[in-house]
Amino acid sequence: MKKLSKGARTDLLTYAGVIIAFIIVSVLKANGGLNRSQTGLLVPICCYIVMAVSLNLTVGILGDLSLGHAGFMSVGAFSGIITAMSLANVIPSAPVRLMLAMIVGAFFAAVIGFLIGIPVLRLTGDYLAIVTLAFGEIIKELITCLLVGVDSEGLHIIFNVSGSKTANDLNLLEGGKVIIKGAQGATGTKTIASFTAGFILIMITLVIVQNLIRSRQGRAIMAVRDNRIAAESVGINVTKYKMMAFVTSAALAGAAGALFGLNYSNLAATKFDFNTSILVLVFVVLGGLGNIWGSIIATVVLYILPEALRGFASYRMLIYAIVLIVVMLTTNNPVLKTWREELRSKFGKNKNKEAKDA
């Protein structure tokens, strides 16, 4: 077999790392090496890893700053919850329902991503960022207005614009069940999410994102990011590839949302607000733009950090903020940067960098 290129090697190492981590955590879990609160973190961490990797596709690979990624997660979460809950009697197998929920979540998020993409991708830079933020908030408020129930007749959906309607207005038949109660969000959801499902979703996400990056489509997307005018001049349809990256990213976020939603018995739409989008963005930026395994590591570390700091109780978010600022300042410090690059070229790890400095 031919020698693998650097990119392909990184990809394989990423898969290997995730698989090894999964095995270690599964063994620990089976032997009681994790306490209850640690076990509870597993599924959310998987969801946020998928969120970070998918957002990296938009921010790192496509180069468009999105501040509304949680919106897609929200769409996926609630459409996934509705799917899983309404099929509870038809499909008794929880893993199958979970899988269907994730597919439906991904589908609806992709559709919403496409619709949002039409106006959003015409803008650039900070304007694009503010519009994605706006869409994220709009999705949140729209879901807050949603009343959904299911009974033997099927789904009942009310869009509660005036704010005066309640779950009783759904007119559910005997034995019916309210799935989403407006501002309260989804209540009484049967939690069928599992760590294994999270692991599989991560692997699927990695296959999709990494294989996409190393294809003609991925090269086109990165060409658009690096120099839009040059990309156009070599015949790349900019809108098409922006949309491809944006919709793929949204779909993956939707699948992650479905898994996330089915991990909690109660979930309000306000969970997926601006702050959640920012949280994921922080994972992506600290992990390195366009760096997939970086996103995974940053997510795990930064998600566990506040939990690990629980002993410091009220100081933990303050410490988190300080860590964030200090990391940004040190990674972008010009002096430290050249120092790091010198170190790297000394060990002959990266010859290209050297040529660049010359």
């Binding site: 294809s215 003609r216 489509q217 120099n227 040059a230 156009e232 001049s233 070599v234 790349i236 349809n237």
Partner: protein, 304 residues
């Protein structure tokens, strides 16, 4: 005719200086456009690859380019020269639809490109380089050319993600072709380097390689020799002729280096203040008083 060493490298067809225009001025009243271009004789009986008819663009009242009429033969190397700010790059931007023309028609191989986008124009056959180099700096030299080969590959997103056989086949062929393009420009040993790390001259060559990878029938080069030393320029001249001879395509170049223009261009258009002041062979251009005046000013022209 310029009797340089390069003459021997121009085998397809012959090109005689001072030949009367092979395409006569059309007197047909239905087409109120005068076509007064010289085409190399070997291309004369074919549709010109590019034809601009009364092309123009206005920026807020300023006529940046006006009444631009030019035809370029299918295997011609043509030059577009003129003082700074004459509107040369603007014409490239019009031809590639980066700017939308205010009026006029652009015919590429006889087809109107009015409704096309920049990307579609490239797929239709115009590739270009940029005055201020626009490479994908953070990607490897090889990837830059592979991006140029984008539309030459045909697998879809599905086979990319699932890595179907079509993906591997297309990627392998594309890589081989990309390496061929790179070796044409002696860039093959730098294939895995970052494009941004190349020296200036090599970056210019890489841009040409990338443009060629899109399989154009007309190559637009915007100041290809800028920032090159004389030996690099000489090599570039050979390369441009080699490109034309190998791929049988037309080349239109903007250049300030007169030795390059006079040596390899068969037809030259001189632009000043957005208007054509002169068209002809290098010899005709050299002796044209209007050209001398445009470059040196009225006083300078008198002194000569």
């Amino acid at each position: 005719m310029t009797e340089g060493s390069l003459k021997n490298m121009n085998p397809p067809g012959t090109w005689e200086a001072g030949t009367p225009p092979t395409i006569k001025v059309k007197k047909d009243p239905l087409v109120p456009v005068t076509r007064t271009s010289y085409l190399p004789e070997r291309d004369a009986d074919k549709t010109p690859i590019l034809e601009c008819i009364d092309l123009g663009i206005t920026f807020g009242g300023l006529k940046a380019v006006d009444n631009f009429n030019v035809a370029i033969g299918r295997t011609e190397i043509a030059g577009l020269i003129g003082p700074n700010g004459a509107g040369k790059t603007t014409i490239f931007n019009l031809l590639t639809k980066v700017y939308q023309p205010t009026h006029g028609t652009i015919l590429l191989d006889g087809k109107d490109i009015a409704t096309m986008s920049t990307a579609q124009v490239n797929r239709a056959g115009i590739a270009r380089t940029f005055q201020n180099i626009r490479l994908f700096h953070n990607q490897t030299v090889l990837d830059n050319v592979l991006i140029g080969l984008h539309n030459e590959m045909d697998y879809g997103m599905g086979s990319a993600i699932l890595r179907l056989p079509g993906y591997w086949r297309a990627e392998r062929i594309a890589k081989e072709r990309a390496m061929e393009y790179l070796s044409l420009f002696h860039l093959d040993q730098h294939a895995m380097d970052l494009a941004g790390s190349l020296p200036y001259g090599a970056q210019r060559r890489l841009e040409i390689a990338r443009a060629l990878a899109t399989n154009p029938s007309l190559l637009l080069l915007d100041e290809p020799a800028a920032g090159m030393n004389p030996s690099e320029t000489a090599e570039l001249m050979e390369n441009i002729v080699k490109i034309r001879d190998t791929f049988h395509i037309a080349v239109l170049l903007i250049e300030h280096d007169m030795s390059l223009v006079m040596n390899i261009c068969e037809g030259i258009v001189v632009l000043n203040f957005g208007r054509i002041i002169c068209k002809g062979t290098p010899d005709e251009i050299r002796s044209n008083p209007a050209v001398i005046e445009a470059y040196l000013g009225r006083k300078g022209a008198k002194k000569l």
